[in-house]
Subunit: 356 residues, 2 copies
Amino acid sequence: MTMSHLAFLGDTSTGSVDSRLAEFFDERGRLARMYGAQYPRLWKAAHGASRGGKRFRPLLVIRTHDELGGTNPTAAVDVATAFELLHTAFLLHDDLIDNDLLRRGQPNLAGSERDRARAAGLSERQAALWGQASAVLAGDLLIHFAQSMIARIDVAHDQRTALLDLLDESMFITAAGELADVALSIGLHTAELPHVLDMTSHKTANYSFCGPLRAGAILAGADDETLSLLGDYGNLVGIAYQLQDDLLGVFGDEAATGKSSLGDLRENKMTPLIAYARSTSSWASVDHLLGKPDLRDDEAELLRGMLELCGARSWVEELIAAHIGDACGLVAASALPTGLRDGLIALAHSSVERVA
Amino acid sequence: MTMSHLAFLGDTSTGSVDSRLAEFFDERGRLARMYGAQYPRLWKAAHGASRGGKRFRPLLVIRTHDELGGTNPTAAVDVATAFELLHTAFLLHDDLIDNDLLRRGQPNLAGSERDRARAAGLSERQAALWGQASAVLAGDLLIHFAQSMIARIDVAHDQRTALLDLLDESMFITAAGELADVALSIGLHTAELPHVLDMTSHKTANYSFCGPLRAGAILAGADDETLSLLGDYGNLVGIAYQLQDDLLGVFGDEAATGKSSLGDLRENKMTPLIAYARSTSSWASVDHLLGKPDLRDDEAELLRGMLELCGARSWVEELIAAHIGDACGLVAASALPTGLRDGLIALAHSSVERVA
């Protein structure tokens, strides 16, 4: 999932977050030298895993803090960095759960550690075990240190408690979404549309939108009304963002998205798009193709055609438009400062106008 | 690893920790109902995973706090509970890394969730995937909430920072030990004796002994000298404890330990006992038996005999005695209160006099 070219974030530099991440990882990497040859490598690999994204979540924290008149940029950078650490941990453990060894076409941490163990002469089984162990531990460490970074920021007791509550919520809800995603994809849970929509909201919208927006606002000393509004806005835009991501996963231009538009169809990834299609009578004729590990291009075309014909694509597009409309309506009717209001409206639109 | 009948802890009740754990898990379980049918089950399973141990680490926290004249029992119970949550998370992810579906002869969380998915009609592959995903997420949640519990305790800023530092250290060092354990067991790291001893110290002694002892002392407002002494003591006793555990894993009475005395030999678990044996010339004749997945009883007897003959067993026994002697010497020469001094000396001896 790339988050490039999102309006609202345009002027905010990722420099301060990149520096804070580098400082964090370098310090841990140095300490790790006291604990065997492999441990510094793990920290280096974890730093690598934190790269390649657009620092979208940290930028949301910082920009919201700034636009709401916050005066604690140091704390904002720490909280922003904590969200990026958490995001990296979620990616690592999401791949682990899915047994994926690639991300964006490149070996992920588990994949590259497996390759390294293989190159050192270990058997396939042992090398795979090493890759998996590395991913488990790197994710564990980042989950811990994200929370530790939040716990240490120098703000008033009430603010720190509010941030701790927020991170608890992000962790609690994201894990719920991740679990539901697995349950739906293996069929432990019936893929009814409301469940699939809930999963989408839980797995992504909370920690990617609601969490960072509210964290920036808490640091700026925003009132409960503002926090609640940002939470509602974040949930709407986060769901719309994920729905757009699902559309791109099936209908996107591979050259722009950088990932195969066959992947989601081959994996039987359970999305609202698919859940809607399955609820229509016309879908039955092509359902057997979904989840076919060796799905051919012509079969994928057939599935895409049916996703349009059965109304699933336009239903998702309308749902996206409705969510964005609601989100913008909330913000337009609010008493938020003009800069933030304009920024959030631009962010909402650009979240779903992207092609990658 | 059982920790029954350890002196020093005898009078301290686990009731307050059990209650706090129940409160924590019940509250999360209730909230989880809002997030699908599977999520409350995951929290229930995580609560289950936290049971069955002797609450050894929490008791160390509470008893040390009390003996040092601490006056914050509520905070002591929270910190104690956080260590138990962390311990549970480590067990879950340790089993995940080892692909173990049993603990103490019973299905662990991954194993019982796999069984449940299988009973619901899922394929073997899908059921295994479900078990694994459940273990990843349960461990992640407990790592996060252990830290969250520490971050929220109501103590002075300096004390909280000291506790956060301590938990950072426990997490950092335990992960290092876990990684080294995997590296040694698959042969990515040459199993030289100093490395294997370091791994033993890192993987267990820190979070099981040094961490809880110092946490209790921090809460009681102990000075740096006391903290440093407890750290040194904890490391010595923790290593001795683990060495004794390694001996029991090979020479122990199955009826008392509750686990097969073939397991460690079949798994090629890398311990100082084995690393020492391998450094002797007489070991070469039996080395091919080590790690044999279907090792027979008579072959295990041969290995045990050679572990004695080559001097490995007596070397480990002497090392244990030396560590316990050093630990008791430190305490005896210290200015610790009499109750704590006597307790720590009794704890040191009982850590290695156990049969299970």
